[in-house]
Symmetry: C2
Subunit: 311 residues, 2 copies
């Protein structure tokens, strides 16, 4: 069984590392394959990549929708192109969520100051800035009201081809310089309802992440990612079944694995440096095989049931 | 960091799959590399294999001792050649164990019937047979008294370069046709004392397995394996740190990870067939990338905290 992955960054790497033990083989469509080197054949062109694949998934949400649609006509692809279309455009995403009764930050209200965000291609806080008047807003931006939130949380959920949905414990994320630096699980009750609505509406297959703000006890959806997600790295050691294994099981039509946390997990990213693994005796050290550059996510560490201060 | 592995079967595969996430690279000395294909460069000659390695370990105990000694003069190698020498010869192994006050089955007592075993190259019950008289015993065989045991157990232990020793929970193994088909953990109190004696005497580094019989509450050592071991596959999902990760951490001078079981684990081998993974919804499915042949170990499944009948 050969699984094709659109993209070959650390999420593609971790998908392959979850699938190879299960006997799966991988190939990647990726121009800069440093993180997946050695884990499967790498292609730069879609057609030769697709030829010989048994099924295809993607590891980032800015894959061209046309690519995924072209693949969908030929192969099983998960999650589908509709999830991709919705999540690639912030305006469409918010309208989609609101249409399902899922609250988002109010947007394009005409109130200022606000946070202008590019409709497309924003990630990790890039493409966002504070604006004070309408004439500062570009045509491809939306403006969100400024929210005062208590914390940021993320929900990972997975849906099988048969329609079964399982959710991971809600986790808390902390951003530093706009990049996720810590995930903690479980810090709250599981809040699966949003995920159920979204996944059923989209006939979704695979893992999805929903980033939310907690505002006075309410969960306000921020954005959804139709893929495995940085906020779920803790699941590799911290859950009965990792997000990567479950994404593959879902896409291949296998039964889903259990998503409960196995004790207390804490993950933090290694950004711009790869410290000596000996510094984390209680940790599971992950390095992504990427060249180290300032500000670049090059690894993470997960602690299980450790008595440690937050980093 | 490039780690060389002598051998490229499923244990080498699982070592690589534990090390790649930590940013390690692998190469293998192996003539039939089907299980490690794609996980690193494969060599058939020792010198080119060794050139460029940062450290070397082995995944089977019948590696030629001279190879390991040659490597030891040039590179960090773990476990050392002495552990290999001792464990390659059943007679020497038993004398070594008895010398440390570790009880084995009585051997070469002149009592018959007994079990004749080849001194070298026996594994999985191969090279063993019942004999009724001295003239049935070959010159390269020893004869063990027939033991009536309650069960077979195995202890996995790991020792770091700094001399720290950690032991995994004692596990019970069940043999079918002489091949390990099931491991269960934890079924008994941890019995680390034997491992401490052996590892300290050998200045051992890495994971070691000690197979034992339980006879009227006493533990009788059967054989030791100076490597990661089939009876420890459950540790991948069932322990805080897998035997494979800990073997690498030990050899690279990193601190050892915790060896406690995380709940109840049960593993069974897939022998001679690779059933549909959907048949094990509660299991973690492992396939070794090897061609399926009758009697050949081609995978295993581990269940964690599952309510299942023994297989």
């Amino acid at each position: 069984m050969i699984v094709g992955i659109l993209g070959g960054g650390q999420l593609g790497r971790m998908l392959a590392l979850a699938g190879i033990p299960m006997g799966l083989e991988f190939r990647f469509l990726e121009k800069n394959p440093e993180a997946v080197r050695g884990l499967g054949e790498v292609f730069t062109e879609l057609e030769p990549f697709a030829k010989g694949c048994d099924a295809v998934t993607y590891e980032w949400e800015n894959v061209p929708v046309e690519q995924v649609q072209w693949l969908e006509e030929r192969l099983p692809v998960w999650p589908g192109s509709r999830a991709l279309e919705v999540s690639q455009d912030r305006l469409r995403e918010k309208e989609f969520l609101n249409g399902l009764g899922i609250e988002t930050a109010p947007f394009n209200t005409g109130r200022f100051p606000g946070i202008a965000k590019t409709r497309r291609m924003g990630y990790d806080g890039k493409g966002q800035r504070r604006v004070n008047a309408a004439d500062e807003v570009g045509p491809d931006e939306i403006v969100e009201d400024i929210l005062t939130f208590e914390r940021e949380v993320a929900l990972l959920a997975v849906r099988s081809r048969q329609g079964e949905i399982r959710t991971y414990p809600l986790i808390e994320t902390t951003h530093r310089d706009g990049i996720l630096v810590k995930a903690e699980a479980p810090v709250a009750e599981v809040a699966p309802d949003y995920a159920h609505r979204i996944m059923e509406e989209l006939d979704y297959v695979g893992v999805m992440a929903l980033e939310m703000f907690e505002v006075q006890g309410r969960l306000i959806a921020n954005e959804m990612a139709p893929r495995v997600h940085n906020s779920g790295h803790w699941t590799i050691e911290g859950a009965y079944t990792s997000q990567f294994e479950n994404h593959l099981r879902a896409g291949l039509g296998w039964p889903l694995g259990r998503t409960e946390a196995r004790g207390h997990a804490l993950s933090f990213n290694l950004i711009g440096e790869l410290p000596d693994p000996s510094k984390f005796p209680e940790g599971h050290y992950h390095a992504y095989g990427k060249a180290v550059r300032p500000g670049r996510k090059v690894g993470h560490v997960t602690m299980i049931d450790a008595k440690v201060q937050h980093v």
